[in-house]
């Protein structure tokens, strides 16, 4: 086996030095009836070229040439080449959680830079070293608000990503944490402020909204914050499309921000690994979940970085920890750090503006078709919008398939009240030509047979 650095003779010599006769002696503590005496029934050992062929075959079942208008919490943006050049350096790839600060300053400084960039973008004071993803991050952010306020109820907007809400439900079910849901305004697609005002009480720990929300619409954060804060509740803002922060005002009125940072240079990879992050006002720091890197000095006065405030964490606090999280998404956070360094202060804005332009164009040409209209068109939005068609989405999606285009995602699976409504996302990588084709296909009502 090519990964194993020992010859058969070395193995025998080592057994002798240990003082046993055979390798089975070292496994004799496992009762005989539980020792496996056959080969595992798994595929045989493959050569490297065979492994690559196997995965190429699997990959070829999907032709890359498809153009997709899918978004909904996972976004395809261009990934600059040097991200993969750098994260594949063995010193980053094959290191672990930087427990030994003297020999992991590279990872530690990079995380410190990540924390800074996230704080700058979100308008929060501090950010952690990462969470698993946006969905678990949102759930952890709500539980953080519960700890901060000592209250045990939460109000959740129905325009938060449906799968995030499902994860939240799983997390809160056994925490004695009832949640209530607030719907959206049928005209604007934003959270229904009157309903929110009615839902928030003196027992509410936090209000969780997403912005841009699941329909791509930017919520009125100052108004929502005022309602939450009036009752002493915190405002938690979930951000599923991090690129939006290049052009959208950050939710500075929020107390906690939970963000999915996949858009910052992370491949779609069928849903993961992505990278969540929690950012917050400094006064809530001690209730934050996850790892934090802090700046300090060494015995000679040099600047250095360490994992810090670990008394919040499971390896110290055990059942009283703020979270059970241990391994996070450090390498993916590094991708995001490199991505943000590449685009920088100006580039992230330009990139966001291109997304805005592409989406505006898509809306314009799709809605030029008399059988289609954009819902919630009055409210500001980023690069996603809801399209309602006379024709059922399954029908036109079938036609788009012939052109190797995947259209917007059908919203009825999550919002049964929305008939023939689909969510369209256009990022900077979708060429105009494909947008025009999609518009033409949508308009082409098939001839009845």
């Amino acid at each position: 086996m090519r990964y194993l650095p020992k010859s058969p003779a070395e193995r025998l010599e080592m057994l002798q030095e240990i003082g046993v006769n055979s390798i089975d002696d070292l496994f004799s503590v496992i009762p005989a009836e539980y020792r496996l005496t056959r080969d595992l029934d798994i595929p045989r050992q493959h050569g490297e070229s065979e492994i690559i062929d196997w995965f190429r075959t699997a990959a070829a079942k999907y032709t890359v040439r498809h153009t997709s208008f899918l978004g909904a919490g996972a976004y395809r943006h261009y990934r600059p080449v040097i991200i993969d050049s750098l994260v594949q350096r063995g010193e980053f790839l094959t290191s672990y959680t930087p427990y030994q600060a003297e020999i992991t300053q590279g990872t530690l400084q990079a995380i410190f830079e990540f924390q800074t960039m996230i704080a700058e973008l979100t308008g929060m004071d501090v950010a952690n070293a990462s969470m698993y993803d946006g969905s678990t991050g949102a759930a952890e952010a709500v539980m953080m608000a519960v700890r901060v306020t000592g209250r045990h109820k939460a109000v959740i907007a129905r325009t938060v990503h449906p799968e995030y809400r499902e994860v939240l439900a799983t997390y809160t079910k056994h925490q004695g944490l009832p949640t209530s849901s607030v719907g959206y305004d049928k005209e604007t697609g934003r959270i229904d402020l009157a309903a929110l005002e009615a839902a928030v009480t003196e027992e509410t720990s936090c209000v969780l909204v997403q912005s841009p929300n699941f329909f791509g619409i930017i919520e009125d954060i100052p108004a929502i914050a005022a309602i939450a804060h009036a009752k002493g509740a915190l405002l938690v803002v979930s951000i599923a499309e991090a690129i939006s922060l290049g052009v959208v005002r950050p939710p500075v009125e929020a107390d906690i921000v939970s963000m999915e940072a996949q858009s910052f240079g992370v491949a779609l990879s069928y849903g993961g690994p992505y990278v969540g992050v929690i950012a917050a006002k400094e006064k809530y720091l001690r209730q934050m979940p996850g790892r934090l890197v802090g700046q300090t000095t060494d015995t000679n006065g040099y600047r250095g970085f360490v994992l810090t405030l670990s008394t919040r964490e499971q390896h110290i606090r055990r059942e009283k920890a703020t979270s059970n999280i241990c391994t996070n998404q450090a390498l993916v956070a590094l991708m995001a750090t490199i991505f943000l360094t590449i685009y920088g202060k100006e580039g992230i804005r330009e990139l966001a503006e291109h997304n805005l332009a592409k989406s505006a164009y898509t809306e314009k040409v799709l809605c030029a078709n008399p059988g289609a209209k954009a819902l919630f068109s009055g409210a500001p939005r980023f690069h996603e919008f809801v399209l309602q068609t006379d024709e059922a989405p399954a029908a036109w999606n079938q036609r788009l398939r012939g052109e190797s285009i995947v259209g917007g995602i059908d919203l009825s699976r999550w919002y049964p009240e929305m008939k023939n409504a689909t969510l369209w996302c256009t990022t900077e990588i979708v060429p105009r030509e494909k947008i025009d084709i999609a518009a033409k296909i949508l308009a082409a009502v098939p001839v009845e047979a």
Partner: protein
């Protein structure tokens, strides 16, 4: 050193330059300190649609002040992160015997196949007809892991080990609820990882600690005494955190099952068992795996991980949604209609990119390779034990599996603790072992070499450990002030926690 003269001092007066370091790569500033306005490392594709006016489109929601992100050119970015990388220790540089973390070789073909465009660019919501290749990967990995663990069903959704624990205990809870009573408490041995009690608490359970016996194993009498109709499960790491196989595992399972309680196995140490024994055969009801430990996906400086949960058939109805299915004509898809499911634990389907890597590792090994891997991991740990047990105290003489845990008892008599020995090991070119864990061992040195170490590397490590033991006798100060060879010396963790500086801030203008 003109290049470094421009680097500002931090407001706190911390020496970023102080003494001139031996090489400029050792002076790399924060990326923000290297920024100057107008530099660029990007060029967007030409916009092929009409420009828009963001302020007009967004109104009050328009961002007027940009975040202070750095502005650098591409070569500077390459150098910045490459220089930072050289400050890291890594498996690729040498032995990384961090006990319980299984720091094995991360094969590069795994990285290549995970980046094949049709897999890496797959949107999670693309229709099933376009996802068959990705679903083939998931299906085959599921089958392999079910066979390796001897369980009946699996979910790959959890994002890491602790997330897997959470999912597994939710299955336990859901099953008990279906029997009419969720029960109240989870038993956890005093040798367990901190994630276990944290998980139990987050699933709404009380944690009851279980004292280990003199061999560091589960005390059967104690177990019998504490298990009752209120016990939901025992969370057991097997082999345990001292690297010992619970040889009474079947009796442990029987005691639990007799009272209707379940046996959860923390699979952190599965690298000791793959191809040699299967938890499903010895009474485990539900367990998690760590693909980043046992199945070679990279640790990446602290993730991403992946924590699949395997279970027996009676727990299958409770698995998180969605669950993969294959219909009669071989087409695969996701089933969301699972009324007894515990719900979702993560958006989409899990850390899919890690599934690709883990499957590539399994294919590279086959059944014979996986068995040899396990044997070599156990061989290496026992070799280290045999070569060091005369100089370091071995608190539990029970046979070791894939890791060996010593105590600093002898060195502590000279005022040198496990943390000091660990720091001195850095000077010898190794990453330290896991320090002061498990807590049942006073001053623990938890050493897990994995199968990836050659005999030569093991001998160098053993020489280093023996040399340090001698230094403790001759010159304990040398060890207590280590490391002496690193870019930074011991860092002030107390001040870091008392006055947290968690981000860089721009100079006030």
């Amino acid at each position: 050193m003109t290049t470094t003269a421009a680097i500002p001092q931090t407001p706190a007066g911390i020496r970023t330059l102080g003494k001139v370091r031996p090489h400029q790569t050792q002076n790399e500033a924060l990326v923000f300190e290297k920024s100057s306005p107008g530099k660029k490392a990007y060029r967007l594709a030409q916009l092929d649609v009409p420009e828009v006016d963001p302020a007009a489109l967004l109104g009050d929601a328009h961002r007027k002040v940009s975040g202070e992100l750095p502005e650098l050119s591409e070569i500077e970015i390459i150098r910045h992160f490459t220089r930072l990388s050289t400050w890291n220790y890594a498996i690729d540089l040498g032995m990384y015997p961090l006990g319980s973390c299984t720091m094995k070789y991360n094969p590069r073909v795994n990285e290549l196949v995970a980046r094949i465009e049709g897999l890496a660019e797959a949107h999670p919501y693309r229709p099933d007809y376009l996802s068959q290749g990705q679903l083939d990967v998931i299906d085959l990995l599921q089958q392999c892991l079910i066979e390796i663990t001897g369980m009946d069903a699996i979910t790959l959704q959890p994002a890491a080990g602790a997330h897997g624990e959470f999912t597994g205990i939710l299955l336990v809870r859901a099953w008990h609820e279906s029997q009419g009573n969720p029960r109240r408490k989870i038993l956890i041995p005093d040798s367990a990882h901190g994630t276990n009690p944290a998980t139990a608490a987050h699933c709404g359970y009380e944690v009851q600690n279980l004292k280990s016996n003199a061999l560091g194993m589960v005390d059967l009498e104690e177990l019998e005494r504490v298990v009752d109709e209120d016990t939901a499960a025992l969370m057991l790491t097997n082999p345990s955190t001292i690297g010992v196989f619970e040889s009474d595992i079947a009796k442990i399972a029987a005691i639990l099952h007799a009272k209707g309680a379940l046996l959860y196995m923390d699979g952190a140490n599965m690298n000791a068992l793959v191809g040699k024994a299967r938890p499903g055969d010895f009474g485990v009801d539900v367990m998690h795996l760590n693909l980043h430990k046992t199945f070679s996906t990279p640790h990446g400086g602290g993730g991403p991980g992946s924590g699949p949960v395997a279970c027996k058939a009676f727990l299958e109805p409770f698995l998180p949604i969605p669950v993969l299915y294959t219909n009669k004509d071989g087409q695969k898809g996701w089933n969301y209609d699972r009324p007894q499911s515990v719900g979702r634990v993560r958006a989409f389907f899990g850390n899919t990119g890690m599934f690709i890597r883990a499957l590539a590792y399994i294919l590279a090994n086959g059944p014979d390779g996986l068995r040899q891997t396990t044997e070599d991991a156990v061989l290496n740990a026992n070799y280290i034990r045999a070569k060091l047990e005369d100089v370091y105290e071995l608190p539990y003489k029970t046979a070791s599996m894939h890791e060996v845990v010593f105590s600093d008892k002898r060195q502590a008599a000279k005022g040198v603790r496990t943390g000091d020995i660990a720091k001195r090991l850095i000077d010898y070119g190794f990453h330290p072992y896991t320090v002061s864990f498990p807590m049942i061992v006073s001053g623990a040195l938890m050493i897990e070499p994995t199968e990836s170490e050659s005999r030569e590397e093991l001998d160098l490590f053993i020489d280093a450990m023996r040399a340090i033991a001698q230094e403790v006798e001759d010159d304990p100060e040398l060890v207590k002030t280590a490391p002496h060879s690193t870019r930074v010396s011991r860092l002030d963790e107390v001040t870091a926690a008392r006055k947290p500086i968690l981000r860089w801030r721009p100079e006030p203008k």
